[in-house]
């Protein structure tokens, strides 16, 4: 393996008593990219994160961060990564500033540098005004920003965020996303767990979907969408009588799926936009009027549902399965 992979996990297995939390999870995060570990509650995301961040030892398998083995070279791994989220929090009874200075000292930065770094991070995360209040009094969004700041004290090359926005309101979530975006643009490698497809779609270059302790899919958001059904060309008609003639036109380009109730027809459209033109021209030539014609990519929600058999928390698509 090259140094270009900032995080590598190979065949991780972990059981707690009778519960198999992880069953052969592997993943690879190239340096400078964002990997979203996506899965429902209890899928094994946090267990994987705890193993990669040296907090927990796997029963078998191995993991490396920045080239260092998480078991044999744990101290070097800890120097290379920042962790935030459910697994690691700040001290609620200390002020934001004191928390950050303390963490700086524990990285063995000099007191002067630790203080300057704390000030810098407080400003960057818009916490300067609240810096001397105890963290317990912070709002959910502020607390998450402080958690993030805490993980960045030593400017680590690798950042691991465990469900950074779970429980936040949409506004605070959007704020957190902005902060994460900034970091990633700065070249930080990010491993992120989430239950929200939207979050993975928004932030990740590569998504690893886990369910019941195994990886059920792996790829870019676009690849995942293509893999599960791919893009389809959809045509909607206004009159039921038009369904049959339109179907006949579409049938020249592939197997037609007809939804009579919705008066919608669709065909596989891997070749993409060009097909739209071809079909539109053909329909025009036959003087068939359609309500709408366009390419449809399944939402990640549909992908997720198809992969894990369970809907995500943000959607309720049980009927459409």
């Amino acid at each position: 393996m090259g140094v270009t992979d900032a995080v590598v996990a190979e065949d991780l297995n972990k059981s707690f008593g009778q519960t198999h939390a992880l069953r052969g999870v592997s993943l690879r995060v190239p340096a400078g990219t964002v990997c979203g570990l996506l899965g429902p509650n209890g899928a094994g995301k946090t267990t994987a994160v705890r193993i990669v961040t040296t907090l927990l030892r796997a029963d078998s398998g191995s993991a490396r961060v920045n080239g260092y083995d998480v078991v044999r070279e744990a101290p070097l791994v800890r120097r290379s990564l920042g962790l935030a989220g459910q697994a690691a929090t700040v001290d609620g009874l200390l002020s934001g500033r004191v928390n950050l200075v303390m963490i700086g000292k524990l990285y063995h930065l000099s007191t002067k540098v630790a203080k300057a770094r704390a000030d810098e991070l407080l400003e960057r995360f818009s916490l300067t005004d609240a810096a001397d209040r105890i963290a317990k009094t912070y709002s959910g969004g502020m607390r998450r920003r402080l958690d993030l700041a805490a993980s960045l004290v030593a400017a680590p090359p690798v950042l691991v965020l465990d469900e950074p926005t779970t429980g936040l309101d949409p506004h605070a979530r959007a704020e957190t996303w902005d902060v994460i975006d900034d970091l990633v643009r700065g070249g930080t490698t990010l491993l992120l767990t989430t239950q929200y497809l939207e979050e993975a779609d928004q932030l990740a270059d590569q998504i690893v979907v886990v369910d019941h302790g195994t990886v059920v899919a792996d790829g870019t958001p676009a690849q995942l969408k293509d893999e599960v059904g791919g893009r389809r060309l959809e045509v909607s008609v206004t009159k039921p009588d038009d369904l049959e003639p339109v179907r006949a036109v579409l049938a020249r380009h592939g197997e037609v799926n007809v939804d009579t109730d919705a008066m919608r027809l669709s065909i596989d459209a891997r070749e993409g936009a060009r097909l739209v033109g071809t079909v539109a021209a053909a329909l025009e030539a036959e003087s068939l009027e359609v309500d709408d014609i366009g390419l449809h990519r399944p939402s990640l929600d549909e992908v997720f549902l198809r992969l894990t058999g369970s809907p995500t928390i943000t959607t309720d698509e049980r009927e459409s399965a």
């Binding site: 040296t54 929090t89 963490i103 000292k105 524990l106 400003e123 030593a154």
Partner: protein
């Protein structure tokens, strides 16, 4: 307020320690930072001090004024003088609540994991917490002494005996803090701590010579009370302070001084070993 702009170079971590001495220096610094954090917590939330300040004051006043009116110390002497070493030992025992709840809270709220994700010396979380808890309990000890002096308790022997008495108490504080630490590492949540500790600590402090002389107990209870570590500590400190110390005819109470150090050492070794094992197991899961 504009912070000085830091470069990546400023944030470059110093090389990890290699020799034994520099490792020790790092571990000491890590422990002190962790200990300083507990002390700072108290500055922010002074209510946390109540179990080593308000409670002992309350106990001194309640026991001295309520029991004191009815209890005659065998062999003579004032009940206040008799009571104070008992109260001090009691608050020392109950000091392990703070250690247990603190450790359990830090574990379950993810702060321990934050510390464990940092490149700090292994074990400095334990030693740092221990340092802070012992400092805290020692402060509680001082509060007890001052309250005692106010209500009329006196030290009657020389400075060396007083120092010896404090040495006994400090050893016992360390032992009790290790018990608390171990419990904190074992429980599922901090809410479980009182349910586990109360049924243990309550009999231990009361089935002893803490508040009343044990001469009148039925034989089997008396044997238990005589061998109770709390009795050893109370009898030994009473002896060193020169306070009334009735009913020390039995072997364990005649050797209270040696036994109190012995108990403290035994509890410390057992609980510290189990805590360290548990600490290691937490990462193995």
């Amino acid at each position: 307020m504009t912070a000085a702009v830091l470069t990546r170079g400023d944030l470059a971590l110093p090389p990890a320690p290699s020799g034994i001495l520099s490792r020790l220096r790092w571990a000491t610094r890590d422990s002190l930072v962790v200990a300083g954090r507990s002390i700072r917590q108290i500055r922010n939330v002074p209510e946390r001090l109540s179990d080593v300040t308000v409670q002992p004051i309350m106990f001194v006043l309640l026991f001295a004024e309520v029991f004191g009116t009815a209890i005659v110390v065998p062999g003579g002497g004032s009940y206040h003088e008799y009571l104070l070493p008992g109260i001090i030992a009691q608050s020392t025992v109950f000091g392990c609540f703070g250690a247990a709840i603190g450790m359990a809270t830090d574990r379950h709220e993810g702060f321990v994991d934050r510390l464990r994700s940092l490149p700090i010396a292994r074990g400095s979380v334990l030693t740092g917490r221990m340092t802070a808890e012992v400092a805290l309990a020692s402060f509680g000890l001082l509060v007890n002494i001052v309250v005692g002096l106010i209500v009329g308790w006196r030290i009657h022997r020389g400075p060396w005996h007083t120092i010896l008495a404090f040495a006994i108490l400090l050893a016992f504080v360390i032992a009790m803090t290790w018990i608390g630490t171990l419990i904190g590492l074992l429980v599922r949540s901090q809410e479980a701590v009182p349910g586990i500790l109360f049924p243990i600590l309550f009999p231990i402090t009361f089935l002893a010579n803490t508040f009343v002389p044990i001469g009148g107990l039925p034989d089997w209870l008396k044997v238990i009370a005589e061998w109770n570590p709390v009795s050893a500590v109370v009898a030994a400190t009473r002896g060193q302070f020169g306070n009334p110390n009735p009913g020390i005819g039995s072997w364990p109470l005649q050797h209270a001084l040696a036994l109190s150090f012995g108990w403290a050492a035994l509890i410390t070794v057992v609980c510290a070993t189990l805590s360290l094992l548990r600490w290691r197991n937490i990462s193995i899961g």
